[in-house]
């Protein structure tokens, strides 16, 4: 029984990491309708910036704060320069542009920082504690706490601030938003900026568990897409819960289903995506449009 709970607890922490990146993906999708395939690479790039700031001698907290600020600005810049010209275009165009961005960011990082791997320090140290025979690492608890805090802050921004109201309005009806005086372009820029900052945080949480290299987010992105799909793709809270379900399911499957083991764990997100799309395309929390003709 203790082993079972341990597997769930560990999966929960891993799932929080998927959820963190999924939140970034969802933020852009719900405001612009774009599935940003480059989200993981942007997070990777941000993590390298954090690593660079650490190398320059900044303390971890300051390096992280600096990285979030740079990512926010970078996300806004990318929206303005690369996405704006194709916004509102064909889905295929948008997919190709974000795939192009994926390759661009990946290559740029390789060119700047090389393809070797580096270790990235944990934000929470490596302590752990024991509750009834189940080991909790401080890092896992920290990851879950940070993720919950992120969703709380996003919720506050969306529900309680004017900018959040504008972001929701733009995602629902861009034409009508302009008629009430909202600058749609500026609002979308802010959305990309926030998503990039959330992605940066995800990168900084994930990097200590893997090694930091230019491809370290590639695998995570698949899990995040599964989490986002499960959560309905337009709900940050859904993305988090989706991440938790995927993380726990992955760990349980890897531990208890013999033929899956560590090698075939990647099947879990893929099966999850397939099942959700087949049987419940709006996910667990996706908003089916409430409308009355």
């Amino acid at each position: 029984m203790e082993r079972f709970i341990q597997v769930i607890v560990d999966g929960w922490a891993t799932g929080s990491l998927y959820g963190a990146l999924a939140v970034a993906v969802v933020l852009i999708y719900r405001s612009t309708g774009i599935v940003n395939f480059a989200q993981g690479e942007l997070a990777m790039f941000s993590t390298f910036i954090a690593w660079g700031l650490l190398q320059a001698g900044l303390p971890l907290g300051l390096a992280l704060a600096g990285t979030l600020a740079i990512s926010l600005a970078g996300g806004m810049l990318i929206e303005r320069v690369i996405i704006r010209p194709v916004e509102g275009g064909e889905v295929l165009t948008l997919v190709i542009v974000t795939l192009g961005l994926y390759i661009l960011v990946n290559s740029l990082a390789g060119w700047i920082w090389g393809f070797g791997n580096r270790s990235f320090p944990s934000l929470f140290g490596d302590g752990s504690f024991d509750v009834g025979g189940v080991q909790f690492s401080v890092e896992s608890v920290g990851i879950v706490a940070v993720l919950i805090a992120v969703v709380g802050v996003l919720f506050a921004i969306f529900q309680r601030t004017k900018v959040g109201l504008a972001m929701r309005a733009v995602s629902l009806n861009p034409d009508s938003s302009r008629l009430v005086g909202i600058s749609v372009g500026r609002t979308l820029m802010i959305g990309w900026g926030i998503a990039a900052a959330v992605g940066a945080l995800a990168g900084a949480l994930i990097a200590p568990r893997l090694f930091l290299d230019v491809n370290f987010m590639g695998g995570v992105l698949i899990y995040s897409f599964a989490a986002a799909t499960l959560g309905g793709f337009d709900s940050p809270l859904g993305a988090v819960l989706g991440g938790w379900i995927i993380g726990i399911a992955e760990n349980l499957a890897g531990t208890y289903i013999d033929f899956i083991g560590a090698d075939l764990k990647i099947l879990v997100p893929l099966v999850a995506i397939l099942v959700v799309l087949l049987f419940r395309p709006t996910g667990l929390f996706g908003s089916a449009e409430v409308a009355r003709a």
Partner: protein
Amino acid sequence: MSLLEVSDLEAGYGPVTVLRKISFSVDEGRIVTVLGPNGAGKTTTLRAISGMVRRSGTIRFDGKDVSGHTPEKMARQSVAHVPEGRGTFTGLTVEENLRVGAFPRRDKAAVSEDMQRCFGHFPRLEERRDQHAGSLSGGEQQMLAIGRALMLRPRLMLLDEPSLGLAPKLTRELFAILEKIAREEGVTLLLVEQNANLVLQFADDAHVLESGRIVMSGTAKEIQADEGVRRSYLGL
């Protein structure tokens, strides 16, 4: 004095030109209507004023040249546009729809007052303030669209077929409220309508649009009395 002056306005979509050099003006404090059959360019006229379509010519609002203004800039000049289809933010609550209408404003206290005033005009909206706007009936959504426009504290309100899809009784009620808003709050109204009979009863001035050209302008009474207009548009 003219609040809005449109001269030689051409407008259209892509290669298609809908408006062919129309000129007209709207005097401050008046209720002005643009009449015309389907496809005459009524909606395009409003969309051109708001900067939502390709256009050329001159548009002056309150003496200032606003010909190149984007829709968001027009809104900040206190020109409120109630678009075709009502422009409801279906996923927001009724209250949020109203709040978003006041987006350019910084005067929080006055915004709350205006929301109360909206609820005064449309008590139905107050009953449903926490409901998702997508669940409202067509008539309620039209009230919400007008309420949202009022939240801007507009000097000029552009209304695109407010009667569309509403029962006759509801339409009359809505027009009575619009008239009250215009007379009591001094908001100038420019509305396009197909329902000429009804709108001429409460408008001050009217312009008749046909195939992208203004074929007649005058007071509502003159237009109503005109034999040609009566035959073509009023079905009398």
